[in-house]
Amino acid sequence: MNAPFAPNRISPLFDEQAPHAAKWTQVETMQTVASFGSADAARLPLAGIGDLSFRRRAGVKGPGAAAWLNALGIVTPERMNSWLRMDDGTLVLRLGNTEYLVEDAPGGSHAAQMNAAAPAHGVYPVPRYDAALVVAGRNALELTRQTCAFDFTTLSPAAQGLAMTSMVGVGVTAVAMESGGETYYRLWCDGTYGGYLWATLVEVASDLGGGAVGLESLGRLAQQ
């Protein structure tokens, strides 16, 4: 073997984004679009779609999952189909009864910790290489209305509910969050459907005055 490798992570949305990207950046070893152009900032308040796939995440399921996560210092939501944000910014989603998705805040290490730890009895690791999106702007709700049969108004940020539904025909996990008094949505889907989801949402968003937004313009939305 030749010199040691330092492999790059590739966003599941790379193929769709590459033709439109104006500027790239490296985040968490993943090449990510920093900017799609000067229109990014104007799109975000209307219907901005951003790629947060760079965040590290890991999943686990099984009857022993909650206890195993707790032993690793990861707090788990008490209610099924709900989420919480830990003090360090880590997002913990409870999918159904005994499955969890943990997404690190930038720089976080819980996912790596989960991947390294040996699973206990009744604990089944679920690798997560999702396409992870953020949908923001005052037309974000209308965007969901044109793409999903689920009523996103029932996902209030305060209630911290979670929906597993179908959007543009793609299975997604969705939550509503709040930033600066404005509601925005986070979506996760199987990465192999990510390109289609991204392209379709960007197309619909463009009808609503929005579109793809690079990491630089996402600002706090990329950090939360």
């Binding site: 193929d15 699973p119 009744g122 192999t192």
Partner: protein, 966 residues
């Protein structure tokens, strides 16, 4: 001009004049006019031609389903003139004419009508030989409008929406329902097709301003209520399960989901039936009221009102208020009930004749109404001989009855009953969450409709979970709004029941005489209700006629099925923006960059082959296959289903779901796996790899991944074994590095021991490749030394690039699905669903070795035990064509013929560079499965191709390629 002074609720913007063309002439209307009202205001009473006899027609209902006024508007055909607002610059023509409305060459069909009775085409044009000729002719002379195939693609949006209570119809009852529901706390959407809400509450006035005030007040409250969204110009096109209702507006369709749905859709006024009841100038009474109050158009100068209810009297009063003269009110009821309305008319000198009807209408030289002959009728509706009397008029208002707009109630599954007093079908049992109020509910008096709306609104809110305490009672109707027999016989016919299809009373008599005496049969034979208005103005009268002809009650006759959509919906709305999820492997971009020609494989797009400039498709595929056989090549197999089962009973689980045995596998080994369903049919296959004592990683076919995961998840819940199943299909990228040089290439990227001893054929190993954690299997689907490498999806492209770079000196290249199909065929490997079908068991395809019937249990075991004892019906064999075969090559699914009978079919076939012949797999009779047996394959054109059964694999039968190569 017949424009009236401003009306309080008119839809017009009098400051804006709209110029448009109709049939080559220029007209002016006002902004807010419908096309029909603008034409009528300009004195243009002839606005269309009928479908069959090409008779001149004018406004009939002005109720958004007026088939008489259908227009071509540029590329838009069948524009409804009674509902579409006139726009500046429109260039309109009436549909269904040959040479224009005035000089329609087909108008002579009217004189041939006696030769064109109902169903004539069934009897006259059934000759098979001549049918194409007739078909061509009928397609030319029928059809409404002309399709312009160069019409630009219009992309329309679709959207979903949600509310607690959806109210369909914004007339008095709908508005009252919306307010009641909103006041109970519900979020309410109220929709109405009309450009402005208010419904009949703002035009059925009887010259009584107080009546409009009720509705105007309700409307004002609705508009100012924050819980209510009022959608004007929006109609509910259908009803689907779980209270899904598509709402159609000018631009798009909204799929509304409500917790409760209230039908306040009103009723369609029904034309009366008498000779020449279709002359321009004769219209429903409500149509005249719409013209007056919505468009400020005086419908006529002198009217005759044909009435059978209080509404007709109101029409007469409204006509008088609009400045028209009313020559007479002909009331079809035996006697005129005492009422203030009748008194008011008499006070204004209007003659009211009880027990009278219109015997026939008379046309002027243009074919428009010039007068009527009135007559007395007896209690059974028969004309009293000698009672005829001629009355000059240029307008007839027909107000003899209504039919409930209950289409969506029927679609929702409402049980309806015929109410003899009301002479109307009314809801008897409504489905859960569905409510009705107003005319559709059999409530006609204005005050009662408002009360009924309040009742329905509270009930709907309660159903949606809001606390409601009030209880409201609606007083019963005392007068029938509909006449039981609004039909006047005439020996010369032309008394139309269905204006869409030009159906006269005698057409129904003939149909029943021929045995079509059931409402569904009658509909299909006569085509009643099958035109653009879908029977909105004809079905009820047709039902009454059928009931009378068969001696049944309307309840016994019943109604036809109401199907979505009940109202015209532009195809562009239905098409809308479609969603067809495409699944791309993490390597998709790499394939595209390498010139891949993609093929659809389920939801996936996969490279069929990689195009090379100057080379044909087949040459590219053969070159890719040659590279695998002689050097090294890489294929994306990430579309395979990739599952993991983990836990103490993981092996037991696999033993149960696959036909083979997995509890005796060593860690680090792989084993082929066959899955059957309960009937023993081969349903999927793959490779099982034992990663640890309690961890198995296994693959499924690409197309079967989702189904297998779903079924295995179900079984895992049912069996309650101590193990968990994880779907890694989207999480892992996978690629197969295959060819004699594969080990040399891989060695550059990993520290793993790749020697045959350390990593033998059919072994699985974990390690890192290019710094990426990987699971690798030495499998040989294509028959070469190779490694199937599975890694986290986010590193897929990185590893692909690394392998391509490492293989440059070895001549590496990508290969696609077609090359892989050829290579596996040379090895005699089958593809489930290509070389098997929905009946194939493992014994038929030579997989006896993979079926362990000595296991205590596995899915399909019982069936396979039975099948095993029975003789095979067919067998999958290898075959090859003659050495120097030339000419057409058989295709997959071509039949194998023996002694004139079908003896099997080809499942796979391809040219094999290695064998130097066309080779394939085929199902044949067991008696034909011996190697060397000759048989024939029938091509599509019927010619035969010779072939012979041969042993498989065609290539490397002893797996020499998997042995140490250095």
């Amino acid at each position: 001009m017949k424009r009236l002074p401003a009306m309080p609720d008119e839809w017009l913007d009098r400051s804006r004049t709209v110029r448009f063309r109709f049939e080559g002439r220029t007209f002016e209307g006002l902004s807010g006019d419908s096309i029909a009202s603008a034409l009528w205001a300009a004195g243009q009473r002839s606005q269309g031609r009928s479908f069959k006899y090409h008779r001149v027609r004018g406004i009939l209902s002005a109720a958004n389903h007026d088939v008489n006024v259908m227009l071509q508007d540029g590329p838009k055909l069948n524009t409804r003139g009674d509902v579409v607002a006139v726009r500046e610059g429109m260039d309109l023509t009436a549909v269904n004419t040959f040479g224009g409305l005035a000089n329609d060459k087909a108008r002579h069909l009217n004189k041939l009508s006696r030769f064109l009775p109902v169903g004539f085409y069934y009897k006259a044009f059934h000759n098979k030989r001549l049918f194409p000729l007739w078909e061509k002719m009928f397609r030319r002379i029928t059809g409404l409008g002309v399709v312009d195939f160069s019409t630009p693609h219009i992309r329309t949006q679709k959207r979903y929406d949600f509310c607690d209570v959806l109210v369909i119809g914004a007339g008095p009852s709908g508005l009252a329902a919306a307010l009641s529901a909103a006041e109970a706390g519900a979020s309410v959407v109220v929709c109405d097709e009309n450009a402005r809400a208010g419904g009949s509450g703002l035009f059925q006035l009887g010259a009584d301003a107080a009546r409009r005030q009720h509705t105007a007040s309700l409307l004002q409250q609705v508009k100012s209520n924050p819980r209510i969204r009022l959608l004007e110009g929006t109609y509910a096109g259908a009803y689907y399960a779980d209270r899904w209702v598509p709402l159609i507006d000018e631009n798009r369709m909204t799929k509304m989901r409500a917790k409760s749905v209230i039908l306040a859709s009103g009723a369609y006024e029904q034309p009366s039936v008498f000779r020449n009841n279709d002359l321009p100038g004769i219209m429903n009474g409500s149509a005249m009221q719409r013209l007056i109050y919505r468009y400020a158009v005086k419908p006529c100068s002198t009217a005759v009102v044909l009435a059978a209810n209080a509404d007709g009297y109101r029409v007469a009063l409204d006509l008088l208020a609009a400045g028209a003269a009313v020559a007479a009110v002909l009331d079809m009821r035996a006697s005129v009930p005492a009422s203030p309305l009748a008194d008011a008319l008499r006070a204004k000198g209007v003659e009211i004749l009880g027990g009278h009807a219109v015997y026939e209408a008379h046309a002027d030289g243009k074919g428009e109404l010039a007068g009527v002959t009135a007559c007395r009728i007896d209690g059974a509706g028969r004309v009293v001989s000698g009672s005829q009397r001629r009355i000059s008029c240029d307008g007839v208002a027909m107000s003899t009855g209504w039919s409930p707009a209950a289409n969506l109630l029927y679609q929702a599954g409402t049980r309806m009953r015929f109410d003899d007093l009301l002479q109307q079908f009314v809801p008897e049992q409504l489905p859960e969450g569905v409510f009705a109020c107003g005319k559709v509910n059999g409530v006609f008096r204005l005050e009662s409709r408002i009360t009924d709306g309040q009742r329905a609104g509270l009930a709907a809110a309660a159903n949606a979970g809001f606390e409601v305490s009030a209880s409201i009672t609606v007083p019963a109707e005392t007068e029938s709004p509909s006449h039981a027999w609004p039909v006047v016989a005439h020996p010369d016919g032309k008394n139309f029941v269905d204006f869409d299809e030009d159906l006269q009373v005698k057409d129904f008599e003939n149909a029943v005489q021929e045995g079509y005496d059931n409402i569904e049969l009658l509909k299909r034979f006569s085509t009643v209700g099958m035109g653009p208005s879908q029977g909105k103005h004809s079905n009820m009268t047709a039902l009454r006629i059928l009931a009378r002809l068969t001696g049944k009650s309307p309840q016994q006759v019943g109604t036809t099925t109401a199907r979505p959509f009940f109202h015209p919906v532009p195809l562009s709305h239905l098409a809308g923006r479609g969603f067809s999820p495409q699944r791309h492997s993490p390597l998709h971009g790499r394939h595209a960059a390498a010139g891949a020609v993609f093929m659809q494989a389920g939801a996936w797009e996969r490279p069929e082959y990689y195009a090379v400039p100057g080379k044909s498709r087949i040459d590219c595929i053969r070159e890719e296959a040659r590279r695998v056989r002689t050097a090294v090549a890489l294929i994306d197999v990430g579309t395979l289903g990739k599952l993991e089962i983990r836990g103490p009973q993981a092996a037991e689980f696999l033993n149960r779901v696959y036909t083979g045995r997995y509890d005796n596998m060593k860690v680090g080994a792989t084993r082929y796996a066959v899955m059957c369903d309960d009937s023993g049919v081969l349903s999927d296959e793959g490779v099982v790899a034992r990663i640890a004592e309690d961890v198995f990683y296994f693959t499924t076919t690409s197309s079967g991944a989702a189904t297998v995961y779903r079924e295995l998840s179900r079984l895992n819940i049912e069996w309650k074994l101590d193990c968990g199943l994880i779907n890694l299909t989207g999480s892992y990228s996978a690629m197969n590095l295959a060819g004699p040089a594969s080990r040399k290439v891989l060695a550059q990227l990993t520290d793993m021991d790749l020697s045959s001893a350390a990593f033998p054929y059919l072994a699985v190993r974990t390690g890192t490749v290019a710094g990426i954690p990987a699971r690798m299997m030495r499998v040989g689907f294509v028959g070469e030394w190779g490694y199937e490498i599975h890694i986290p999806a986010e590193y897929g492209a990185t590893l692909w690039d690394a392998l391509m770079k490492a293989g440059e000196s070895s001549g590496i290249g990508p290969f696609g699905v077609e090359a892989q199909r050829l290579l596996r065929l040379e090895k005699g490997h089958l593809i489930v669903s290509q070389d098997t079908d929905g009946l194939t068991n493992p014994f038929e395809v030579g997989m006896d070795w993979a079926v362990k019937l000595d296991k205590p249990f596995f899915t399909g075991k019982r069936s396979l035990q039975i099948v095993r004892k029975m003789p095979l019906k067919r067998k999958l064999v290898g075959f090859r064509l003659g050495e120097n075969h030339s000419g057409e090559v058989p295709k997959e699914c071509h039949l194998i013929i023996q002694d004139g009978d079908i003896a099997g079919r080809v499942t796979s076939i391809s040219w094999s560079p290695h064998v130097g012949r066309f080779i394939g797999l085929a199902f044949v009779l067991p008696s034909m499965s011996e190697s060397g047996t000759a048989f024939q394959i029938r091509l599509t054109d019927g010619s035969m191709v010779n072939a012979e059964v041969c042993d498989t694999p065609f290539f490397d039968p002893k797996d020499e390629r998997q042995k140490e190569i250095e």
